[in-house]
């Protein structure tokens, strides 16, 4: 007997766009008529891929299309994808709040879903009453809640307020209580959507720990949807990556996260004027292009041992502008690893145009990142053009991604995982002192 607890087969879900009104009655009648004649639903044949940004021809879209995957017992599966990738629809079907249009899901064991914390909390009821109510909504019996009651109160840390209406709670207390109830569910399968985005850091850690216990110690299966890559990577062993309602990749969480990062952001190693999306626009200058150059080629895939040049090409449109360029390098999670600029005192070389009044026209600035400095990871580049008074600057976030891959150059001795955001090759020496 296999230990697969969730089996999703050919799962698809169609939604109708636009308003429901008089127009939808004709479709309903049409649908009913074809069913009477024993024909297929005419609206199932059409339908666009669910890309929300592009205007489609059809009123019908497939929020999910041919989803297939299996989850084994005790597995913690992450579901990753941009907004609109179909994650929530998938969770809705799994948690039985809606049904699929085509396909099926087979489930072994009790399933509990946490698409939101505090579902059904009544503001006027006390914490105690709400624990029972919320627990029952999530599928616990009264006896089960009674047994866990003290644990829940303790976990939430709200003992003093237990008989106060929850509308008097601080939002943190409210969320802690709600998560406390959910975390003590006794279901074999737990579906969690973004609930960790609440509470303070300490509570998040507690919640994360609780979920980890659920899978490692209690052998429960967890499906976890989040945009928090750090939480995903610590919690989930495997993940699926969704895009436009389809699964595009499946496997080891770290690899999936890398794929997710590089899939969404421009991945060509070059971004041109009309593709650039500014966070802030300047009246003094604009970018013509931003590119990554390695071994005289434009690419965003470089090796550990390669020297990387980031080239900013920009046009100055106001005479006598004093301006400097700046680059931020970020990791997958959006944390800045370093910021660098061509201001004279922050530059290894002498830049002839730095700090000078520039005449109108096009300029190119190069920033050289030495070889053997970056780690085997994905990075994101933000680029800035900063006029002298720091006002009116042009900024582009997520302009490019940079994938640095292992070449084995620094791996002749040590082959394990190399931690750290950077992997600089520094000067080491050892002397014998006694």
């Amino acid at each position: 007997m296999s230990n697969t607890v969730i089996k999703v087969e050919n799962l698809s879900k169609q939604y109708r766009l636009g308003e429901i009104g008089t127009g939808s009655i004709t479709h309903d009648v049409n649908r009913w008529w074809s069913r009477v004649r024993g024909k297929e639903d005419p609206y199932l044949k059409i339908g666009d891929v669910n890309d929300r940004t592009v205007k489609g021809d059809s009123e019908y879209v497939w929020a999910l299309k041919d989803i297939n995957f299996e989850v084994k017992q005790g597995e913690v599966l992450g579901v990753i994808g941009r907004n609109g990738a179909g994650k929530s629809t998938l969770l809705k079907i799994l948690s039985r709040t809606t049904t699929p249009t085509i396909g099926s899901v087979k489930i072994k064991g009790r399933i509990a879903s946490l698409l939101e914390v505090g579902t059904g909390f009544h503001p006027d009821l006390s914490g105690r009453d709400n624990i029972f109510l919320n627990g029952a909504i999530l599928g616990m019996t009264k006896q089960e809640i009674k047994n866990k009651f003290d644990e829940i109160v303790d976990f939430a840390g709200i003992e003093r307020y237990i008989d106060t209406p929850v509308k008097r709670y601080s939002s943190g207390m409210y969320v802690r209580l709600a998560f406390g109830v959910a975390a003590h569910l006794e279901s074999e399968i737990l579906i969690i959507d973004e609930v960790l985005a609440v509470g303070d850091a300490e509570f998040q850690k507690k919640a994360l720990g609780k979920m980890q216990d659920a899978s490692t110690q209690e052998g429960r299966t967890v499906l976890f949807v989040s945009h928090n890559m750090a939480a995903l990577s610590t919690l989930c062993t495997t993940s699926i990556l969704m895009q436009y309602g389809q699964i595009v990749a499946q496997g080891n969480t770290r690899q999936i996260i890398d794929k997710y990062i590089s899939a969404g952001i421009h991945s060509e190693g070059e971004i041109l004027q009309d593709e650039i999306i500014y966070k802030e626009k300047s009246s003094k200058a604009f970018f013509n292009s931003i590119r990554v150059i390695c071994n005289n080629k434009i690419t965003n895939l470089v090796g550990i041992g390669d020297e990387v040049i980031i080239e900013l090409e920009y046009t100055i449109v106001v005479q006598d502008t004093i301006l400097n360029c700046s680059i931020h390098l970020l990791d997958n999670f959006g944390a800045c690893i370093f910021a660098t600029t061509n201001l004279a005192s922050a530059n290894l070389l002498v830049d002839d145009y730095s700090g000078k009044s520039l005449q109108m026209g096009r300029y190119k600035s190069h920033c050289k990142i030495p070889a053997n400095f970056l780690n085997d990871a994905n990075y994101v580049i933000n680029a800035f053009l900063v006029p002298k008074d720091n006002h009116d600057m042009a900024s582009v976030e997520n302009a490019l991604t940079l994938s640095v891959t292992e070449t084995g150059e620094m791996r002749k001795e040590y082959t394990g995982q190399w931690i750290g955001m950077l992997r600089p090759k520094f000067a080491w020496n050892t002397i014998f002192v006694g």
């Binding site: 939604y15 799994l94 709040t97 099926s104 899901v105 006027d124 009821l125």
Partner: protein, 289 residues
């Protein structure tokens, strides 16, 4: 070989696009009985939270309505009450009608008002309308107590003959028929209104009009005397027979079993239609609500 194994594998739950019409899982509803009790408790506790008078409001509302109806229909319009005390006549009609109308309105809104819960968690949706019917029974019970107190008061104060007897055993029967009819109609309305809201607009004023066609403030016999045609039309409304029957049973001890036949048939039919519609709609209503 693997094919064979897979076929024999047991799954606890299978989610598929369409299930049969009568696939109503009452066993599951029973598993969630604790939730039903908690919903009833919630409705009851939360209703008058942060009010000074609290549960006293359960009494004030029917008392005031009774007084107004008494003034209008009995003092001003001088409509006879079939030999029953007019105050008791009005009050008994009002409380049983209130029970039915709140059941119907609340059940008919069940999908729309609970969309936020239904969209996040699964539990058998039928739990919700059932809990509405039950929590209204509690309220009805309280008001029935008020009616009994008023009867005793009027009996002592006015020295009128008050009926106490076996016919009171019929009260649960009337309430049951009312409850299931209200539930059935309510879930029919709620199922039909998830996609097209037209019916809820109709229901909002329809229920007010229905009250006048339900013999709440006048006896059916009065209509029978005035116009036979109108009487036959009003008899089409099963609730009219129920309200009239309930009043006669409680205040006079007259039980007319023949008048129950039509309401019982009506109840059974609406309940089954309701269940079928509700069952069909509950699975996908989140997409259209």
């Amino acid at each position: 070989m693997e094919e064979l194994l897979n076929k024999n594998e047991h799954w606890d739950l299978e989610l598929k696009p369409r299930t049969s019409l009568l696939d109503i899982n009452l066993k599951e509803v029973w598993q969630y009985r604790d939730l039903m009790v908690l919903f009833v408790k919630r409705d009851f506790v939360a209703k008058y939270k942060q009010t000074v008078l609290g549960p006293v409001w359960h009494f004030i509302q029917p008392i005031l309505t009774t007084l107004i109806s008494f003034m209008l229909f009995n003092v001003v319009a001088n409509i006879p009450t079939d030999g029953m005390d007019s105050i008791l006549f009005q009050m008994s009609g009002i409380i049983i009608w209130n029970y039915f109308s709140t059941c119907l309105t609340n059940c008919s809104n069940v999908f729309v008002t609970n969309a936020s819960i239904f969209g996040k968690v699964y539990f058998p949706r039928l739990v919700m309308p059932l809990s509405i019917v039950i929590s209204n029974i509690v309220q009805f019970g309280i008001q029935l107590l008020l009616l009994f107190c008023t009867m005793i008061f009027i009996g002592i104060y006015k020295g009128e003959q008050i009926y106490i007897g076996w016919a009171w055993l019929m009260i649960p029967v009337y309430v049951f028929i009312m409850a299931i009819t209200g539930l059935g109609l309510g879930i029919i309305f709620s199922s039909l209104t998830t996609k097209y809201r037209d019916l809820s607009v109709l229901l909002a004023f329809g229920i007010q009009l229905l009250m006048y066609a339900t013999a709440v403030n006048y006896p059916l016999s009065f209509i029978a005397k005035k116009s036979h045609k109108l009487y036959n039309i009003i008899k089409l409304n099963p609730i009219a027979s129920l309200v009239d029957g309930f009043r006669n049973a409680v205040l006079k001890g007259n039980v007319d079993f023949h008048s129950l036949v039509y309401p019982v048939i009506f109840m059974t039919v609406t309940f089954f239609i309701g269940m079928i519609l509700f069952n069909k709609v509950e699975k996908t209503f989140m997409d259209t609500v």
